[in-house]
Every structure is written in structure tokens, then in C-alpha cells.
């Protein structure tokens, strides 16, 4: 399969009154056509910024892209003008967000909001657009979809709004869907509906997905490949099966072993990661995870380890290899 997106050396910071927040510190990642990539990490680790910045979706200022390239279909997204980006966003690259209430316009009907991009990007007339919008709502599980077009967002529940967002995102048959914590605000049964829907649509429409989340359970369910981020760095990159079976970065390992399991009886006490995530205001000299790491060695506090390939398709940023080593 071909390469869809290739991001290299992306560095993003935010200039705030308190100082410079180093949100993303020179990361590189890629995405193949039809692939599902999960970016996982805790709040403030830079997982959203590492994707939203390449689409021009962070406010500048205070945000600033210090360096990087983002190749999508032979063009560098970071070199495009706002108008050129607009042509790509919502058409070839679609997005859904965490809070479907704030990303939908409360005073416009769902129908108008879905048809807007159809008329803009696909040059449909109103009637065609309405018909297509109804098909999209049907595809995302609405019954009596045509009647729903006249509804306003407040008439929908959280799960329905997120499905309407997905319908809107799919309007122009994107080759890439970016989902930023799309199920975080939803209940677990609704989350299961949305994840199932995204997977079904991915397989039907052959689009690639970048799923940004902090939920390691959802990642296990749907991802092909995973980036684990911490403090603006990629700590580990691996296929989903490799990551959970044999995590090779201490952060991935400690994070996974701190989770209780719904399908298993309790065995002993939870093993939490001590301390808390670092402030992004100060640039640490060594590895940002060193202060919390159980495997820390002297080098870790002095030099930040580079992200290195340790096996095909597997990259780890650590001076110590905690993998089981097969």
C-alpha cells in the first residue's frame, strides 16, 4: 500500500505568558493508505498538536511551527496557503472531534451543516446535496434519515451528534479521517457503537484513520499501528500486537501494567507510575520520562535518547531495552 502521509521533524511550540510550551519536539511519523494509526498519550503530551498543526488547525499565535514537513499526496501541507489547506480539509482529510456539541453549529440544522461541504467541495446543487446527506446519515446508523436533516444539534444525544459528525466528515469520501478523542465524552456502550461504525466505514470506504486517544483499550480494539507519546516526544512506535505483547519502552510498559482489566480477576495491587507528567515549559536535558522511570540509568538524566529502529517497523526512544527480547 502506498504512503499517504509522511511527517518529518515536526516541532511546535506555544508562546504563552508563562513561557514557551514545547508541545511537539521534532517528531516524525507516517501513515499508509487504508491504515489505522493510533496516537496515544496523556493530556498535554502533544498528541493532538502533532496532527492538528499540520492541518493549520492550531491558532498561530500563540502556536508556532518551528520546523517540519508534512507530505500528503506529493505536497507539503506546511507550505500551503490557508486557501489551499481549506480545499484539502473537509474534502481529502476529514476530522471529528471530542466534543460534538461544540464542533456543531447550534443554530444551523444538521442537514445544512452536512450539505455545506458537499456543495462547497463537490459542487452539488441543493437537492443532490440533501439526498446525499440523507444517505450519509443512513450510513452512520440514523433511522428515517431524511427527516433528521431538519433537526438541530440540541435535539440529538451525544452519540447521535458524534455520528452526525462522522456523516459530515465522510461527505466528500476522504482518504484520511482524523479523530481527536472522538469517544472520550461518550458512554461505553455508545463508544462501542462509534468505534464499530468507524471500523465498518474504514473497511467499506478504504480510508485511513488517525485516532488520537488516551484510552489504551480503544487502541487495542481498532488500531493497526500505535505511536506512544510523552511530553511532546514519540516514545515508542509499534504494531498494535507487538506493543501490547512486548512493550519495549518503560513508559509503555509501566502504563500498560498500571491498568486494571475488566476481563480478569484481581491479582495483587495496581502498580501506578509514580510522580506526574512534566511541565512542558521547561526543556529537559535528558529523557523526559526519566524522573518517573523504574529502569532509569545515569545516561537517561543527561542525554535524551533518540527514537531508533529496534526491529522492522518498531522504533523506541530509550537507552535501556525493557523488551522481553524474543
Amino acid at each position: 500500500m502506498g504512503r499517504l502521509l509522511e511527517v518529518t521533524d515536526l516541532q511546535v511550540c506555544f508562546n504563552t505568558p508563562e513561557g514557551v510550551v514545547h508541545a511537539v519536539n521534532g517528531i516524525s511519523y507516517y501513515l499508509d493508505e487504508g491504515e489505522t494509526l493510533a496516537i496515544v498519550g496523556e493530556s498535554g503530551c502533544g498528541k493532538s498538536v502533532s496532527v492538528m498543526s499540520i492541518l493549520g488547525l492550531i491558532p498561530t499565535p500563540p502556536g508556532e511551527i518551528l520546523s517540519g514537513q508534512a507530505h500528503f499526496h506529493e505536497q507539503d501541507l506546511l507550505q500551503l496557503s490557508e486557501r489551499e489547506l481549506e480545499r484539502i480539509r473537509g474534502a481529502e482529510i476529514a476530522m471529528i472531534f471530542q466534543d460534538p456539541m461544540t464542533s456543531l453549529n447550534p443554530v444551523l440544522t444538521i442537514g445544512l451543516q452536512i450539505t455545506e461541504s458537499l456543495m462547497l467541495h463537490l459542487h452539488m446543487d441543493a437537492e443532490q446535496a440533501d439526498q446525499h446527506a440523507a444517505e450519509l446519515l443512513e450510513l452512520t446508523g440514523f433511522s428515517q434519515a431524511a427527516k433528521r436533516l431538519g433537526d438541530y444539534p440540541h435535539q440529538f444525544s451525544g452519540g447521535m451528534r458524534q455520528r452526525a459528525m462522522i456523516a459530515m466528515a465522510l461527505g466528500c469520501s476522504p482518504s484520511l479521517l482524523i479523530a481527536d478523542e472522538p469517544t472520550t465524552a461518550l458512554d461505553v456502550t455508545i463508544q462501542a457503537q462509534i468505534v464499530e461504525l468507524a471500523l465498518k466505514l474504514r473497511d467499506q470506504l478504504g480510508m485511513a484513520i488517525i485516532w488520537i486517544t488516551h484510552d489504551l483499550g480503544v487502541v487495542a480494539r481498532m488500531a493497526d499501528r500505535v505511536l506512544v507519546m510523552y511530553a511532546g516526544f514519540i516514545m515508542e512506535e509499534a504494531s498494535v500486537f507487538d506493543l501490547y505483547k512486548d512493550p519495549r519502552h518503560p513508559y509503555s510498559l509501566m502504563l500498560l501494567s498500571s491498568l486494571p482489566r475488566v476481563d480478569q480477576r484481581r491479582s495483587g495491587k495496581l502498580r501506578p507510575i509514580p510522580g506526574s507528567p512534566p511541565s512542558m515549559l521547561t526543556e529537559s536535558k535528558g529523557c523526559p520520562f526519566a524522573p518517573r522511570c523504574s529502569y532509569v540509568i545515569e545516561t537517561c538524566r543527561v542525554t535524551n535518547p533518540p527514537l531508533q529502529e529496534v526491529a522492522p517497523g518498531r522504533r523506541v526512544a530509550c537507552w535501556v531495552d525493557v523488551g522481553k527480547g524474543e
Partner: protein
């Protein structure tokens, strides 16, 4: 104490809490009621952790608050340590407020931003006049902070100087100040980062062992509830659908809602998770203003029969210590 009935600290019978929906500005009249909690009954044993789970809007938080008397109950009986919460006198209420406490979900809005840590944690001591001497009070606050894993040096700092996990520790220290027996933990970890959640859960457990505390742990993280709780109750749309010992509930869920809820939880192991059978519930939770007739779950239930739409299922013990409200469960 009778060995058949372990020591019960909290007894709830037929608890109802309806919120009126009003219309009009000057003269407000009720035009309907939100049936937030509708006829639930359960006990909490001394020293245990009872998990209360369910999706948002199912009434679990309202249940927790009504049990503590923070909301006046519409109907039913609540006994905490032998005291009737609904009919307690002034002195009894003050006693109850010391012995039954609460930890809140949001560590940001539950601490007054203009108060120092010292004033926040010592508030119960001042309100209940437990330690009148200023010096003793400060010594006690320092002790409480150290109990929850914070340095006694933080006394004069303000909430904004702390991370979410540390703030939750401050909230826990405040709850402990009056030597409570019973604590309602209302989603105490859901606002925290994954790596911090386990720290707080371990802390709650340590404190429980140390002081013999009893918890009602309200949460929607079903994996954490399985880990922490000895028994688990499941709520749906204001009603309780199932209550059983933790492992019993997770291994043999009887109510179709519990089964669907548990199967929806993703497991952080791709090989296991992708093998799991899943019941995806269609539709959405109906409105608690006008809940469905008969069994409240019948509109989404995969095994609903005709009579489920008419008859309210009885809350019954189908196996020892395994309660369920469903017509279709044998026993």
C-alpha cells in the same frame, strides 16, 4: 452479630429522588419530574467497597448524594450507622456529616481557589468544632496531608499550585479530617490522567485498610470497579438492574444490560479484545422524564418479550447474594 447478616453500615430501601421540571417565572409549577432515582434498595456492609456503575444520567451520582442527605429524598428509607438520614434531628445530622463524607469528581471545582490548603482541609474540623486549638488543628492538617502522600510543607499553598492528582489528594484529606466511617467517592478518578488513576485508587485502598473505611465507589470505569470493589451494583435509567459480588457479576452477568455494558468495555490487549463477543446496544438511553413502561430497558433489550413492556420486573435475589431485576432471568 448474626453471621447470616454481616454488619450493615448503610441500608437503603425503596429510595426515590425525583427532580421537578418547572414552568413559569414567578409562579413555578411542576410540569413533570425527572425520575433520577426510582425505587432502589441495597445495603453496604461495614468495611467493604460497593461499586455503583452505569452510564451518564443513570442516577448513580444522584443516588450517592441522596444517601448522604445532600438532596432530600422523594421517598424511601436511608439508614447510616443506625441513623435515619431522612428524619435525623439537628444533632444527628451534624454527627452524620462527620461520619459520612464525600469525595468529588472534579478536583478543580471542588476546592475553593481562594482558600489555602490548610483552610480547605481544616474546614470540617472548624465546622464541627473538633479541634478548637489552632496549633492542634495545623498539626492535624499536616498529619492528614502526609496521610494522603502530600508534604506537610504545602499548608499555605493554593489549589492552583497543584496538579489534578494532588488536588484529588487534598480532597481526600478533607474528607478524612472528621474521622469518617463512610465515604461516597463520586467518580474520584475519572478526571485524572491514566498514569495517576492507579495512584489514587491505591491510596483509597490503603486508607480503607488503615481506618476501616466503607466506600460507595461511583464510577463508569468498569475495569477499575472490578479491581477495587467487593460488590458491584449496576444502574440503568434510575433503576438498579443487578447487584452481585464483583467477580460473580463480571463472570456471570445475568441482566442483559449488564451483559451488554461489560461486553462494550475494550480490553487493553488486542488479541483478547478482538476475540471477545460483543453485544452492541442499538439506540440511546430514553429520557428519565418519561421512562418506558414495564422494564425500563425493554426499548433496547435484545431479549425483551411482550410482558416486559407492561410489568415492572421485581428486584429479587436469584442466587445467593446475586440480585437482578429482569423477567427473563430464571431462578
Amino acid at each position: 452479630m448474626n453471621p447470616q447478616t454481616p454488619d450493615m453500615l448503610v441500608q437503603v430501601k425503596g429510595l426515590k429522588k425525583y427532580f421537578p421540571l418547572t414552568q413559569g417565572i414567578l409562579i413555578q409549577r411542576a410540569v413533570g419530574y425527572v425520575h433520577a432515582v426510582d425505587d432502589i434498595s441495597f445495603d453496604i456492609y461495614r468495611g467493604e467497597t460497593l461499586g455503583l456503575v452505569g452510564e451518564s444520567g443513570c442516577g448513580k451520582t444522584t443516588a450517592g448524594r441522596t444517601i448522604l442527605g445532600l438532596y432530600p429524598a422523594t421517598d424511601g428509607e436511608i439508614m447510616i450507622a443506625g441513623l435515619n438520614v431522612r428524619t435525623a434531628s439537628g444533632d444527628q445530622i451534624r454527627h452524620l456529616r462527620q461520619k459520612a463524607r464525600m469525595i468529588f469528581q472534579d478536583p478543580y471545582s471542588s476546592l475553593n481557589p481562594r482558600w489555602t490548603v490548610s483552610s480547605i482541609v481544616s474546614e470540617p474540623l472548624r465546622v464541627h468544632r473538633l479541634l478548637v486549638n489552632e496549633e492542634q488543628r495545623i498539626a492535624r492538617v499536616r498529619e492528614l496531608l502526609e496521610l494522603v502522600g502530600l508534604s506537610g510543607r504545602y499548608l499555605n499553598r493554593f489549589p492552583h499550585e497543584f496538579s489534578g492528582g494532588q488536588r484529588q489528594r487534598i480532597g481526600i484529606a478533607r474528607a478524612l479530617a472528621s474521622n469518617p466511617e463512610f465515604i461516597v467517592c463520586d467518580e474520584p478518578i475519572s478526571a485524572l490522567d491514566v498514569s495517576i488513576q492507579a495512584q489514587i485508587v491505591n491510596l483509597l485502598e490503603d486508607l480503607q485498610q488503615r481506618f476501616g473505611l466503607t466506600y460507595l465507589f461511583i464510577a463508569h470505569d468498569l475495569a477499575m470497579v472490578r479491581y477495587l470493589c467487593s460488590r458491584v451494583a449496576v444502574m440503568y435509567l434510575g433503576g438498579m438492574v443487578e447487584l452481585a459480588g464483583g467477580d460473580d457479576l463480571y463472570e456471570n452477568p445475568l441482566h442483559p444490560y449488564t451483559q451488554a455494558l461489560l461486553s462494550a468495555v475494550p480490553v487493553p490487549d488486542p488479541e483478547q479484545d478482538r476475540k471477545r463477543e460483543r453485544t452492541i446496544l442499538s439506540g440511546e438511553v430514553p429520557s428519565p422524564v418519561d421512562p418506558p413502561s414495564g422494564c425500563r430497558f425493554h426499548t433496547r433489550c435484545p431479549i425483551a418479550k411482550e410482558h416486559c413492556t407492561q410489568l415492572v420486573p421485581e428486584w429479587r435475589e436469584v442466587r445467593p447474594r446475586h440480585w437482578v431485576a429482569c423477567h427473563e432471568v430464571a431462578g
